[in-house]
Assembly symmetry: C2
Homo-oligomer: 200 residues x 2
């Protein structure tokens, strides 16, 4: 039980540090200092810096899952649920409650997109799972008759994700207080007149 509590404490601190310094900016030495532990003590819980990075990423993904898809669980599929999901997404990016440095996954994606390895794989998989979940939500809204039958679901998912990335950059880099409202408006515009599948 103590070992689990210590491991959780290390991971929580690692998520905090990585949210501003990046996953590569995590060092066993700094974490140990922050937590009043020895380097060997920290390393003993993970075995390697990469395992610690993967554990921090996993914790950040679980927080996102709780705060975004978790907020619409139980609601009937359709346009309303999709809008609430989008709003929860922007709340997550705009609230600064989870990670002071902005969306952890977005930062990790930008950091690791050019660096092959286990961390990049984990980032790609987490991003893909989320885009697939979003795709399922869009398709459910089409099936519920809330979006046109010929909605190009891939295009719509691309556009919604792009809007969230735009909001994240405007909030984090430009500290722009209009970013959240602009993103909500852009998502509503994308959902009101969604791109249509081109007939082959």
């Amino acid at each position: 039980v103590d070992a689990l509590a210590t491991r959780t404490k290390i991971i929580d601190r690692a998520v905090e540090v990585a949210s501003t310094a990046g996953l590569e900016g995590l060092t066993i030495g700094t974490l140990a200092g922050d937590l009043g532990m020895s380097k060997a003590g920290v390393l003993g819980h993970f075995g390697s810096k990469e395992a610690l990075q993967l554990a921090a990423l996993d914790a950040a993904v679980r927080a996102f899952t709780r705060e975004v898809p978790g907020r619409v669980r139980g609601l009937a599929p359709g346009r309303d649920r999709l809008l609430r999901l989008c709003d929860a997404w922007i709340d997550y990016l705009d609230g600064g409650r989870i990670t002071a440095g902005g969306c952890f996954l977005t930062a990790a994606a930008a950091e690791f997109d050019g660096r092959p390895g286990a961390v990049r794989e984990a980032v790609v998989n987490a991003s893909r799972r989320w885009l697939t979940a979003l795709h399922d939500e869009v398709r459910a809204a089409v099936q519920a008759g809330d979006l046109p039958a010929h909605t190009d679901t891939d295009q719509l998912v691309f556009e919604l994700n792009a809007i969230a990335l735009g909001a994240n950059q405007a909030i984090q880099l430009h500290e722009d207080p209009t970013a959240g409202p602009r993103a909500r408006r852009a998502m509503r515009r994308a959902l009101t007149a969604p791109a249509r599948h081109r007939q082959g």
Copy 2:
């Protein structure tokens, strides 16, 4: 002349390294090894790692300026010029000709958004200059009568920038060959029915 050529050689290599390893991943030692120079020799040209990071950022911004706004210089303002500018932007992101690791500025923005200092300031300023230039292009298209008079230019610039960020992530992280075409289509959709200013 030799000093200038050496400085340019160091900066070019620094841009290459930073485009995958990030600006923090730049180390004087690695650069020196890559270029067959001493660490003191590299450092002598810049004085500090931060000055080297700023020089690499500046070189990347100049490449972007040449490849994106530089491609529409001399064209008459209006919708056609704006569309060509958007296409040049996506070409830049999708071509992989400049920086293998994707848009240098986007990566630097994600890396430094939570780290106060001169590099963050330079990234914020470069991003702001580009968004202002884009804003001027949109306004010129409105003035030319190619976009509705009540176009919400801030909202449209937010949406175009978001689409470019979405394309960059899809290309770099997911190696998605449909990202370029999707982004071009999304930009055309945004320009065809631009958001309107809300009447006060």
